[in-house]
Symmetry: C3
Subunit: 425 residues, 3 copies
Amino acid sequence: STEEVLDFAKASTKTLTLLLGSIQVFVLVFFLFGTTYSPEDYSPSEYQVFRDIMVMLLLGFGYLMTFLKKYGLGAVGLTMMLTVIAILLNVPVELFCRFLFGEKEDTSFPLPLKVPTFVDGEFSAATLLISYGAVIGRASPVQLVVMAICQSFFYAFNKVVIVLGFLGAEDVGGSMTIHMFGAYFGLAVSKALGPPKVSSSSNAEPSQVSDVFALIGTTLLWVYWPSFVGATETGVSLNENVCVIHTVMALLGSTIASFYLSQKLGHGKLDPVHIANSTLAGGVAVGSSARLAMTPGGAFLLGMAAGVVSVYGYKYSTPKLEEKFGIYDTCGVGNLHGWPSVLGGLLSIVFVAMNSDAEFLNHEALTQCVAQFLAVLSTVAIAASTGYVTGKVMMKTVGEAPDEYDDSLWWEGEYFEAEEKKEKV
Amino acid sequence: STEEVLDFAKASTKTLTLLLGSIQVFVLVFFLFGTTYSPEDYSPSEYQVFRDIMVMLLLGFGYLMTFLKKYGLGAVGLTMMLTVIAILLNVPVELFCRFLFGEKEDTSFPLPLKVPTFVDGEFSAATLLISYGAVIGRASPVQLVVMAICQSFFYAFNKVVIVLGFLGAEDVGGSMTIHMFGAYFGLAVSKALGPPKVSSSSNAEPSQVSDVFALIGTTLLWVYWPSFVGATETGVSLNENVCVIHTVMALLGSTIASFYLSQKLGHGKLDPVHIANSTLAGGVAVGSSARLAMTPGGAFLLGMAAGVVSVYGYKYSTPKLEEKFGIYDTCGVGNLHGWPSVLGGLLSIVFVAMNSDAEFLNHEALTQCVAQFLAVLSTVAIAASTGYVTGKVMMKTVGEAPDEYDDSLWWEGEYFEAEEKKEKV
Amino acid sequence: STEEVLDFAKASTKTLTLLLGSIQVFVLVFFLFGTTYSPEDYSPSEYQVFRDIMVMLLLGFGYLMTFLKKYGLGAVGLTMMLTVIAILLNVPVELFCRFLFGEKEDTSFPLPLKVPTFVDGEFSAATLLISYGAVIGRASPVQLVVMAICQSFFYAFNKVVIVLGFLGAEDVGGSMTIHMFGAYFGLAVSKALGPPKVSSSSNAEPSQVSDVFALIGTTLLWVYWPSFVGATETGVSLNENVCVIHTVMALLGSTIASFYLSQKLGHGKLDPVHIANSTLAGGVAVGSSARLAMTPGGAFLLGMAAGVVSVYGYKYSTPKLEEKFGIYDTCGVGNLHGWPSVLGGLLSIVFVAMNSDAEFLNHEALTQCVAQFLAVLSTVAIAASTGYVTGKVMMKTVGEAPDEYDDSLWWEGEYFEAEEKKEKV
């Protein structure tokens, strides 16, 4: 009831105020005393890449998650909050991880702030939003802020210290460091949160309008995905070019394969969930290998496989995770980001082997293949274990919510009261 | 009823599976064995143009067609499917047409894949989506895939072999090869499909929400249109500049003229159809002449004329086509893409004559004028005849649909059943 | 009732036709005889900036204002109309103002038209749309066109002749010339229009769907804001870079501060109005100082302050303006654009003092500080006085509307009649 909701919101505002306040003070001090201007040259392309990825975060991820008919404000609004927190925290945390790992060139202090610094922040935000997708509608804002704080460390540790640092794996477009980490972190958090309330299950459905909103996210993610995959190659003309071509081919592959399989499994009817999500699986899978000479046909084939894996994931993996493991995945991030990134990560072994003389690789052929394999293993392991711990911490922060998947828990709006009256009648 | 719908979907899934499966195998083989990397330099501008046009296709055209209150998933979702099929098929088909016509420089095999190759694919997708607009809500996914396959050949033949090849006409922004071809092809398909069911007419209406969704498409098309018109001039600084200036002036002209005329004809009330569509007519009309010295004022005047022609088209041409010719045009593509492109194509004769010494023209003054005129004629003739044949082929593929303009025919969703129950009560 | 609405629309169409017709004739003559091509070099970045700001105008401002549940067509549709009128009128009017002020380099006639000419037009459109936000749903299309015509002069006079001309103030991102002018002009117009009808107050509310539409505007404005602030520095690499960095930091600051304060004031619940608007306040405030060495931390702090000022504005300033001054502000532009721009304008005095040796400043330290202060004063004074006069002129044009905040007044649509029937039952 309305009163219960108000009490619950009131009970959590103290913690939320403290957390958001602390973050603000911490990053303000860091940016005031820990950053400076970069003496390096600036290229407008850097900003364009930053801007394109920002479209993917605020609108792409934000609207993709609006498919829940009663959680549109939470989807877009809390996406804004989480994105901003992730970017702000990532700058000091990644700097700290680079200190830990001891790469000399990137650890100058105060940090010379450049647009690519923010792009790194966007990558961490993408990872957080993927995890958010697993628990959207169920984790409260307080819990989400806790998740953002914890993940900012674990994400940076896995990426900077382990995958790119110690292992020297190839992962230009973040299949492993971003999609895989975000998905399994989120699923582990969800495991820790436990099953959703039975009474809220009707809220978790889409409406036709909310499904059309969700496709805003899908289509924007599709369009700007090549900017994401090629982001760190900005200015390196040849690599940029192959990243774009491979990403486009992979997305074309996952899109046509998703339509093919969705109507086949649905006996002539398409499932909006597959079309909104699995069409993008090629972009997830291509990330690790995008600047390798995987050939356009190879990227297309990988994309098709990713689309197939993703659609089958929605059909078979989601119910199994719920029934056997008690893991509830609101947006199906395990199917869009999880399985396709595992596929892409493992197949990067093949592409690395085929292109072992690429100058940007860190090891000779066999070692690099092993590094790719270990990067998959360690990312899944670190994500799942730190995610589970994070979820347990999140469970300590606020009591049980009176309802789920419902904006009226966390947002003011006279229309919520009107709606409630209507439902009572 | 629900059962009828399920039976219809089941009956068509066999053909759809075969068609989508065959396309996938064909393009996979082509891209694996028929393409290679381009040794040429890459410029980030190429990708930016590709990306901008992709926004126009997936979001611009996709959301522009969401005005049908019950067909939002079909508008955006099937737009994704058709766009991807068109791009994938266009690459081998256009290569084949260049072989036919025998231009030496573009026929190397395996084809060196560049981002502009995909941009050509986007042009064919735009053409297909225009045709889709004429039959949206009525043609089934199976029929649409048949349309996509057939049009990929006819479109490429008209553009590569006839208009730009044999005739050497000037059409930098595709008024003729894209808008005119897409519109008359779609109208001819619609003629072949016959009249819509009377019982479905209430589905074909907009709602206030679906009209606001449609304006997402309008505004995005407006914003990115200059990228479309100037796409092939990327990197040719002077031409890019005049293409942008002329396209903006033309859009400003069609927008203000559409508002002027719509409220005048509506006695003080604006028609959402005019504002969603006719405002863009300037972009359609300016395509043929955009890199000629048409002057900013000339482009503005052309845009105003295109807006006027388009609004009058919705008022007079649409009812006449329905009553006298049995041609039903769901989105009114004849008014947004048809008449304005005829206007733009014919007026390109004037602008060519005024600027006959432009170095990029293929002929001396009089011959070029004749070429422009013949390009209009042949485009309309080829589009209408091949479109009609395509429509007849489409009619052979699946039986009569139990309903029209309704997502529940082709999409799964519990909300459809809830909706049906509500309507019964 | 429907008849009253039809009569009102009919009564105003004569004036609207005359106004829109005159504008078309005037600008057509100007562009035909008063403009020419620019011999200068063109850079693709110019178009990209134009395009990004166009996204902000047509989609950003347009959808931000769709939060009114019954005024979505008016929000997006009339935004298109006003944007186009503002751009078209700004070109001749600003040229005229430059003649008045006598800057030699920019007054060549016929005017060499470049893409940056349109960018100046976009700035005037942004100003007009801010003013529109204050009176949306209440001013009729006729009144809005009158407002557009009047403001085009007053805006250009304040910007070209006073702030940047006579005073030589620093305002690279338009905190004063755009946001402050637009906000106080709009509030003054609203004062002149008087209070809204009591009977229409239920129309002025949002729905959950309209709030989700509004966030499309918010997120797009967020993403493209750095293009807006750095627009005039396109090509000046160093300034572009700091403009981007400062704008991003300011937006990060206002976003996190808005979430912090909104849930605090709402006892754990977020107010969609704050999240849709105040999150952007950092972008408003940073405009005056963005290319000064304000440091990343300084920009973040300014953004946080702007977010706080904006949220408090919605809580305290809006009710006070309504009750004490009879000023009704539909979108709360006084809180998003007004207070934050005053904050940013006044703090630009500090940043100018800290960075007084910047080569782009027009005066030595103390004089420049005084210029900044006088620019704030004169902008508020000119905007408020000319806005009030404009509002009075607007009141002379059409009679009292039968209703407010309702698309059915100005748009055709069968769904309006269906809606009306439903409400009667």
